[in-house]
Structures are given as C-alpha cells and as structure tokens.
C-alpha cells in the first residue's frame, strides 16, 4: 500500500471519529468518559469564520439555543407586532445575572416597544418641588451614579399544575446589574416639599403607563436606570431610561420613563387601579415581593441521566432585603438542610444557592425555601393556601403575588416534574 493511500485511510478514519464526536457532543458533554468508543482527544468539529458581525457585537454559540417564550397563553408578538409577556429561560441560567437578551418582559397590555432617540428623550421632575427640572439623557449621565444588582418580578409570576417547566412556573423574573442615578439624588436636587408623600412615575409608551410610588420608597433606593449589564438598557426594558423600584412588583418599574411628578396623595392611576382592593391584607401584600426561591436544576422537564452526584442549583430573592439563608429539602418538605449561598447576597437581588446531593435513584421531591434578612420565610403552598382559606371555604388559589415553595418531583427514570397538584 502506498504511503499516499495510508494517509488517505487515516484521514477518513479521523474524520469519521470527529463526526461522531460532534454528534455525541450534544447529548453527552463528557466525551472523554465514553469508553464504548475509541478514545480520542476532543477537537472542534468546525471553526467559526470571522465576520464583521462577530467583530462588532459577538454572539453565542450555535449550540446554545436557550430562548424566551411568550408567557400566559398569549401570543408575543401578536399579529399587530405588539409585545406582551415574555418569560426568561431560568432552566438554563447560571450565576445570578440574566443576560439582557433573555430578561423577561411584561407590559400592562400588548405594547409596541417605543423606538426612542436618546438625544430627544427628556425626563421632567415637577409637582411639589422647589425647582422643577428637565433632564436630557446627557444631563442624567453627569449626575452621581450607582451600579446595583436587582431582580424584577411580575406580580403574576405563579406556578400552576398545568405548567411543566420552570420557564412557565417562574420565568417572569430576571436579575440584572443596573446603572443610573438614585431617584433620591434627583428629588433632593428638585427640593421636595415636606408635605409631599407620593410620586407618580410615567412612561412615554402609547398608554403612558403610570404608577404611584410612596415617597419613602422613592427616597430610599429607587433608581433612574440608563445602564443594564454594562450597556444601555434594552428597548424592551425601557431604553433609554427606566425606573427601578427594587423589590416592588414589576409594574412599578416604569419603562421609557419621561416624568416624575411629586404629589401629596395616592393618584389612583390605571396601574394603581389594578391594585384596588377593600381587603387590608391584600393591600398590604400589594407591592413588596415576598421571600421566594426556586430550584433551577434539576427542574421540570429536565432529565437526570442516572443515580449519583448532582449539584442542585437555584435562585432565591426577596423584596424585603437580602437573602440570608436558603434551605433544601430532598424529601418533600419533611426535613430541611442549609444550602450554600454562592457569591454575595445583595439587597433585592437574585442570589444563587447550591447543594451537594447524591441521588439514590428512588423517587423524591426537591424543594427550596428562602429566608430573608428581615426574618420573612417563604411559605409552603399548603401554608399559603391555609392563610387564604376561610371557615368552610378552602382556598385553591394564592391571592396576589404567589411566593410559595416550588416542589419538583424526580421520578425513578430521572425525569423531573412539577409536583404542584
């Protein structure tokens, strides 16, 4: 056999092995441990050709296909191009930050996303102030700034028995690093009158969504954000300027912010009307998000390959402050053990937790429970339903925001299911 032919045969063999490696890569990342096949050092199956696009604004691997989905059974975008609720793929999340492209989106009704030239955008601060001010975006960027991690969560983010994945049960919350000016800095600059106790924050989208926010919150930690995860806020998140009311329900985080009006009473805007109640308990639970957590891996729809070691991972958060502790149960809530907090827990921010677990292959139920720094404890679904039940009438629905514990059932075949009945 000529040397040329031998080379050619070797080349073909090697190509076949590589092709196999590429195919296997999708299903079994641990290629080196596959003893069925001839051991071969991992090599890339192909190379990404440089392009102007990849130079200018890089993109993720074509093998990474995690995407957002419309939430709540309504199309997004719809036939008119209106965006509605869009849920983030928490099942694929690592760390604490939600990439801007995958951040959840909520709108008060289907909405066209405003296409705003930041040079033309203005924020007016007026009402019960000594000095009304109009800021351009350039003006705001001259003001003292802060950068903080905060979650946002839609009040309607709740798990139902019909949901199969965490994207459906919990996908209406995300966490980003936000940069901007504290609202208190701007309010002090304007000189708020002593008898003013609310601000009305208003967006520039077609419905001009507006929310009343207590002055105590406005002066505490609300942010006028122009930055998100190291770049300008995305259009779906309110480009060029959004309000962040850390730990408050999603609707208070007014996007495309154009106006802050300082007033002396609750303005009962249309957004506020959504919170209208005559139940003082409901009213009290109406804006600050409760302590909450969820296991992201293993979670509904995922498949464990077999018994053995796993790092359980998840996210915990609270509108009341920092997450101080997360507990894990692998026996359906009968016994609890502390999980490890990864990184540093920050106020009103997703906090990643983990727990080293060896699965024995039998059916089990995984749960996580968040305890925050002001002592609030995430309730079980049973506890939450008990709270809303009255004499003779058993509640089947947690009113308002549902922060109850999410159970995931791991079946003997390794499949993971939503265990809410």
């Amino acid at each position: 056999m000529s040397q040329k032919k031998t080379d050619r045969r070797e080349f073909l063999k090697r190509s076949a092995a590589l092709a196999g490696a590429v195919g296997l890569g999708a299903a079994k990342p641990a290629l080196g441990q596959d003893h069925e096949h001839t051991p071969v050092a991992p090599e890339p199956g192909a190379f990404i050709r440089g392009s102007d696009e990849m130079t200018a604004y890089g993109s993720r691997s074509r093998f990474v296909n995690s995407v957002r989905i419309p939430h709540g059974g309504r199309e997004s975008p719809d036939a008119f191009g209106l965006d509605f609720h869009i849920a983030t793929p928490l099942q694929d999340s690592v760390g604490e930050i939600t990439p801007s492209s995958l951040h959840y989106m909520g709108t008060t009704r289907g909405s066209f996303v405003p296409d705003i030239d930041p040079d033309e955008h203005r924020l007016m601060v007026h009402g019960m102030v000594d000095n009304p001010i109009v800021f351009s975006m350039e003006d705001l960027k001259r003001m003292p700034s802060v950068t903080r991690k905060h979650f946002i969560e839609c009040a309607g983010n709740r798990s139902r028995s019909s949901h199969t994945t965490i994207q459906e049960t919990h996908g209406m919350t995300s966490n980003a690093e936000w940069t901007g000016v504290l609202l208190s800095t701007v309010l002090k600059e304007a000189g708020v009158h002593a008898d003013a106790d609310w601000v009305v924050a208003e967006g520039v989208e077609e419905v001009k969504g507006a929310s009343s926010i207590p002055m105590a919150k406005a002066m505490d930690d609300c942010l006028l954000c122009y930055g998100m995860n190291g770049e300008p806020v995305r259009p779906q998140q309110g480009f060029p300027l959004r309000l962040l009311a850390p730990g408050f329900e999603g609707i208070f985080n007014v996007k495309w912010l154009r106006r802050i009006k300082v007033v002396d009473e609750y303005y009962m805007t249309y957004n506020d009307f959504g919170h209208l109640t005559r139940d003082p308990v409901n009213a009290a639970l109406g804006y600050q998000i409760g302590p909450k957590s969820v296991i992201t891996y293993p979670s509904g729809g995922q498949q464990l390959p077999g018994a053995g070691f796993y790092e359980i991972g998840g996210l915990a958060w609270s509108g009341g402050g920092r997450v101080s502790r997360v507990e894990i149960s692998t026996d359906g809530g009968r016994s609890w053990t502390d999980a490890d907090i990864r990184g540093t827990a920050e106020p009103m921010a997703h906090t990643r937790f983990s727990y080293e677990w060896t699965w024995d292959g039998s059916e089990c139920e995984l749960q996580s429970r968040c305890i925050d720094e002001i002592g609030q404890i995430q309730p079980s679904r049973q506890q939450a339903l008990d709270f809303w039940s009255t004499d003779g009438e058993r509640a089947t629905f947690v009113k308002g925001q549902d922060n109850s514990i999410q159970p995931w059932r791991v079946a003997r075949d390794g499949s993971v299911h939503n265990a809410i009945s």
């Binding site: 109009v134 600059e189 000189g191 002593a194 207590p214 105590a216 505490d220 609030q376």
Partner: protein, 204 residues
C-alpha cells in the same frame, strides 16, 4: 397648579442656607416662597409653566390638572361608535376583546364590588376614568382625543353604569365631584417603610 409651599425640608446645607439668605431680598420682591431649596448640581434646565402643563396628563383625585372643557352623555354615545370604542369593547360595553365597560348584573341592592372589575363603576374616583381614556385610548390612536371628547366619553360610560343620569354634562369642575359608589369603599395601601415585612404578623 398650586402655589409652592414654604419648604421645611432639612436636607439643605449651611452653605445653601447662606445662599438663600443672600438671595432673600431678591426673592421677597416677586414670590412668596423664601426658603426654596437650591440645587446642588445645577444640571438640567427649568421647564416653563406652559411646558409643565403640556406634559402633565396625570389627573389626581381632586382633578386640579383637568383641562377646561365639557362633554355630554349624548355626544359620548356618538363618539363611542365613531371613535371605534365599540369595535373592541362591544356595542353595549361588553362582549368585545377589550375589557368590559358596563357593570355585570348583580341584582337589586348589589354591592358595588359585585359588578366586576369594570373601570367606570369600580374606580373610587371619576378622574381615573377620564385620565385613562385621555392617555391610553383609543387603541392605536392614543392621545388624539380632545378634552371635550374625553369628557363626553367619560359621561357616557358613567351613564351606562348608572353613575350619572341621561343628559348629564361634565366639565373640569363637575367631574371630580362625582361620587363613585366605591368612593370610600376601598383600603389605602399601608405606609411603606424600608426593611419592614410586607404585613405585620404575616407568618411568611
């Protein structure tokens, strides 16, 4: 707009107080407020009164921001068709794709909360209805209604829900005086303070 009240805000620094005192003789000539806070950074510009009026579409329960104008139930019933409201909300105020605008039948002596989540009957303030039509309707042509048209449509929706009688005319003075059935039949959210549980005594 109400007059600026003298500020009792204590956030000002000694320096600012000195500055304010130096300006005092100038200020008392023209305005009442003598202790206005002076800005720290001086970034941004001061809007004109007219500019604020043009921007300010947030109508509070007292209705102070309502523009001059008037409208009637009759005009409202015509506009309800000509402006396309009926297309989404139904010709009778229900049955369309958009939220219903007419109360549900809850029998005689019904509690206002039994009428359903219907803005022009459940809202404690008439101003909320005016404000929302003005800022957010009609779909796709938001902000195009004149003040008179908004008064008319508001009057018509209140007529549909038995809040006002047929033939009623509304203007910036009379609209805030409408006594909505839920005027006092709701609870204010409690005072919010940082670092506090959502509800005292709530177990979780």
């Amino acid at each position: 707009m109400r007059l600026a009240k003298p500020s009792t805000n204590k956030r000002g620094t000694a320096l600012k107080t000195v500055r304010a005192l130096l300006l005092l003789p100038l200020l008392v000539i023209g305005v009442v407020s003598v202790q206005a806070q002076s800005p720290t950074y001086g970034v941004g510009r001061t809007p004109t009164e007219n500019e604020i009026r043009l921007w300010d579409i947030a109508i509070g329960p007292r209705g102070e921001e309502l523009p001059a104008g008037s409208g009637s139930v009759d005009m409202g019933s015509e506009l309800y068709l000509s402006k396309g409201c009926a297309g989404c909300h139904g010709t009778t105020g229900s049955g369309g794709m958009a939220p219903r605008l007419i109360k549900r039948d809850a029998g005689p002596n019904a509690d206002p909360w039994d009428y359903g989540r219907v803005l022009p009957i459940r809202s404690p303030y008439a101003t909320t209805v005016w404000d929302f039509i003005n800022r957010a309707m009609p779909l796709g042509a938001e902000g195009t209604l004149t003040a008179d048209e908004v008064y008319s449509l508001t009057a018509y929706l209140f007529f549909l829900n038995d809040v006002v009688e047929d033939g009623t005319e509304l203007n910036e003075k009379t609209l805030p005086q409408i006594q909505m059935p839920n005027r006092s039949n709701w609870v204010q959210v409690p005072d919010w303070l940082p670092g506090q549980p959502r509800l005292e005594g709530y177990p979780y």
